[in-house]
Amino acid sequence: MRMFKSPLEAFKYIEQQEEIRRKKLEQLSVYVCVGTGCTANGARKVYEKFKEVLNERNLNISLEKLDDPDENNNPVKKTGCCGLCSLGPLVKIIPYGFTYGHVKPNDVEEIVEKSLLKGKPIERLLLTDPISGKKVEKLEDATFFKNQSFYIMDAIGTSECESIEDYMGRGGYKSLIKALSEMDSESIVDTIKASGLRGRGGGGFPTGFKWEAAMKSKGEKKFVVCNGDEGDPGAFMNRTLLERDPHSVLEGMIIAAFAIGASKGYAYIRAEYPIAVEMFNKAINDAKEYGFLGENILGTGFNLDIEVKEGAGAFVCGEETALLASIEGKRGVPRPRPPFPAQSGLWGFPTLLNNVETYANVPKIIRDGVENYRKRGVESSPGTKMFSITGPLKLTGIIEIQFGTTLRHVIEDICGGTSNGLKLKAIQIGGPSGACLSEEFFDLPLDYDTLKSVDAMVGSGGIVAITEDRCMVEVARFFLDFTKRESCGKCVPCREGTMQAYTILEKFTQGKATYEDLENLEYLSKIIKTASLCGLGKTAPNPILSTLKLFRDEYIEHIEGKCPSGMCTALKKYVINPDLCKSCSLCARFCPQGAISGERGKPYVIDQEKCVKCGICFEKCKFNAIELIG
């Protein structure tokens, strides 16, 4: 590696890398996805196996490639997350483009034999398009792929997550060069403002205004901070991005630091994301070696140091003031704003704080220009957004779509609808701060303002599909269980209120709630929402409020002693149908609680006081005499 002394030198090198990458993609190689999802399914073993097998058979593959010790020329490459986490480990064969899912080390020999050497796809490993139900040879041919708009997620399946050269090969750091050599603070900030980029962390605050405030703030020093403390249950967009393309985030941070005049940056990444931390640290080191980071960046005199701070697992540290307190080494607790971090942030100095995905948008905006950038998305929410999809859908994982796409499009045309054959009841969007939307909202365009208008939010981008077998009260209880545990405990409404709200919701799921509880729940939600100190508290009642609004019937039914979905076991009741009971006593013998009694010739009876609803009698009865009510 070499340290670039000027933007021009770096630019020329990048052009070479682009050429190298173009050629590389024409040559025979294997890409193994090593994101967290695929790694958990054994992707790294598959990767090692490929290396081993190719080494053994080096006579069959062009020698010059295998003999080269440089990792970059190794025909097996680690690629970042493709978003299809449920199908991992994923393997892509270049230049044919065959994409295989659920690959095991045992498949490697066959892949090498057939696909690599003979150029033939292996039918059984190919991905199934959930919409057409047919196998697809190439990822790019799948409907779910075509129906997305990849922008931030660059070069799916062929981006080498550990290689800065590959990032340069995709035009990386050209935006930084442009910013450093052709732009100044004002013009960068103006560009970001004009792009209409909005914060991807949840609130959707216009990024450019934040930058402007940080730029105009006076301070002995300034900081840029990247918020990678993604803590929503079921959300992993930021993790994916940091793992698959850390340099895009880093480049965004460097441009931001240059624009506002910061000399120090922190990437606050959850410690639970070890791969992301590793990737980002590597990215920082590599960028330093090339001179994109550190002292006198590209010979322009601009200095910036960036380091990773690992979050210790508190959800509230995703809140900006708590995050800053945590970086300072204090207890991660929010403080009242103003002053906003842009005025007084880390150690009292102006601090610019943006989400991982927000920063990743920056190089694209600089590269493509405002007009091109705004071609994606809608007027008030330009660009694309990554979402993480969970729930009983045919395809789950990470997707990227343009703002303005409808939920229905996401669910049906990308994810292929439900996988359990049941009807979709609701979509929970925006994590624990988000709302549950019922079917009448599925055709609304997904963008910041539209969602806000129906009391929902884009949030960080978690989408949970909920089918009709799920209880909405239980869904609310689940999220409150999360927020009450993750509340920092500072302000009264959040600390005490979420606990009380949780207690009431638990009463509902246990069939002990009254109409007064319903009233109290609404009252509580209002207090927590209005009076809480930070975003965590202010949004904590959203799962309750939205389910109360759209699924109120379910709450009422719980009060009346029924859980319509049958999920709340406490509300279930096993009874013996006297007409069907043959008084064989089988159920009574198996009942662990001794709750069933009876005598020969008469139907048996379940003592509801003793019954723990384990369902063993239900399974054991040979005459279907035991029925589940509720």
């Binding site: 009264v492 409404p493 005490e496 209120g497 009380q500 009252y523 209005t530």
Partner: protein
Amino acid sequence: MKIYVNGKETIIDDNARNVLEALKEVGIEIPNLCYLSETSVYGACRMCLVEVEGNGIVTSCTLKPYEGMRIKTHTPEIYEMRRGILELLLASHNRDCTTCERNGQCKLQKYAEEFGIRNVRFEKLDKSNIFDSSSIIIRDNSKCILCGDCVRACEEIQSVAAIDFAHRGFEAQVVPAFEEGLANSECVYCGQCVAYCPTGALTFRSDVKELYNAMESGKTIIGMIAPAVRSAVQEELGLEGDMVIAGRLVNFLKMIGFSKVFDVSFAADLVAYEEAHEFKERIEKGERLPQFTSCCPGWVKFMEQFYPDFIDNLSTVKSPQQALGTLIKKYYAKEAGIDSEDICVVSFMPCTAKKFEAEREELAGQVDLVLTTKELAQMIKSSGINLKYMQPEPFDRPYGLSSQSGLSFGKTGGVLGSVINVLKEQIDISEISTEEEEKGIRVTKIKIEEGKELTGIAVFGLGKAREVLERIKSGKLEVDIVEVMACDYGCIGGGGQPYPNNSAKREERAKILRDTVGMDVLISPVENYHMRELYNKYLVKPLSEESHKVLHTSFRHRKRVSGEDIDILPLPLDEEEKVTVNVCLGTSCYSKGSYDILSDLIEMANREEWAENLEIKGTFCLENCGASPNVLVNGEIISEATTEKVRKVLEKYVSKEKA
């Protein structure tokens, strides 16, 4: 600045810190449970919500006023919010109000009353059951509302930070480090947390019952009253501004069975007199300067805890409480023909740390009971005796006479002023000028002969004291004598004073004390003829052998981390015959080579004759990690130690032992 409050044009202070403070000055006290004007804004209780046009409902403690802003402070919605917050707090609050220390003086109780809360609609949820009575400060977390006032008072005002938040959400707690008891923390018992706690979560140990027990056992009860008590006890008794309360208190105590009541101010004169001579001696010898006053027990513990290097600089003169206790037990008992064992000395103090001081190993037995102003007020109220109708009676002689100096010990600057008054008799002082450098720090310049100048500083608040110490340490500040009072405004702001105990109240008390001082006819301690008599009769002269025995004490380095030392080379000898060396083996010291020093010492003790009386121990953390490795020789700390450095100190001790 003109703003509109509830539709009315209102002129507020342009420099008001926030809307909450601004409106308080114009007669609108917005309910709040976590706001202290003395500390940073916390914004956690959410009670002080107001509605601002164009900005919705926001907390007024974090709201900067601006010209023309329109605020509503009491809308139905805000009322509902506040009520809800109160109910939420009450739902998980230990509501044993009738047996609570703060019964009738609790802010939460007050709001519950004002909002007419008669039932709490939420489920009763039990909070922590942490109850810590390990020290004189009692913590009952079942009554804690997590307003953080104590945490901020301890950290921001006092820089002690003995307590902080732990755990999250509903489980959040205020605890000392490692959830230990306060006795095992760096708490200095100043009681400022008690002073600012709005509920009964932080209180202090009541010793009233002990007093009645002592009375019942037939002991001779001798009382003494501190200056600051008589500036504040009035607040509890509906006698605000009463200047002769001391006399009424004497009358009251006599009525309930005290045989004598002396004045702590007498001992204050004595302490100042002794301390001034000590100061003069140090100046002449040029050693142990600057001299720090030591009459404040919170400050003394603070020094022992955080600045053990400065322990030698503390004046060794006892505090007035302990000095008077000693005089009573030693001389008065003899004169009155009572066995000192049969005397129970009871001191009435504004201070919680005084309870701790009386129990210190070095001082135990001199004062038997310390009761705070609050406890005294309780006794008076429970007796049904209305002090308004009590004639003032004089303090008993001989320890009942005091000068203005002694009386002013109750507030900041009092000790320093008294010492200067005594010095005036000893040396030529041509000019004295005092200037307030910042709130809490007053600098006095004393011009003496040949153009020389002495500098004295009076500090209040341990946070400010720490600042001053750091400046002295770094050489940025040259000073000869420093008076420190742990609590803001001095003893009048002590942790044992009545509620509310905020800056505004303390300023009122300071005024009462100033006025009371002005009534005294004697100005300097040197004029106190009873004190002179004491010297003639017993003490001979200041700093005499007798006076050292009676009036002086010692201090010690306090290790915060408990745990036994490890015997490495134990010696079966009497304590006097051996020299004990503690080598710190804590992480920092170990990594900087303390283990090598330990090995060298063992080698030395085994081979070299002079070192045969060395007892070597391993210890953990002397809390001086910044200057590791640390070795302790007979209690003397050697920082950045090397074997050579330790050897030199050891040789000194060994030769002393032999001699």
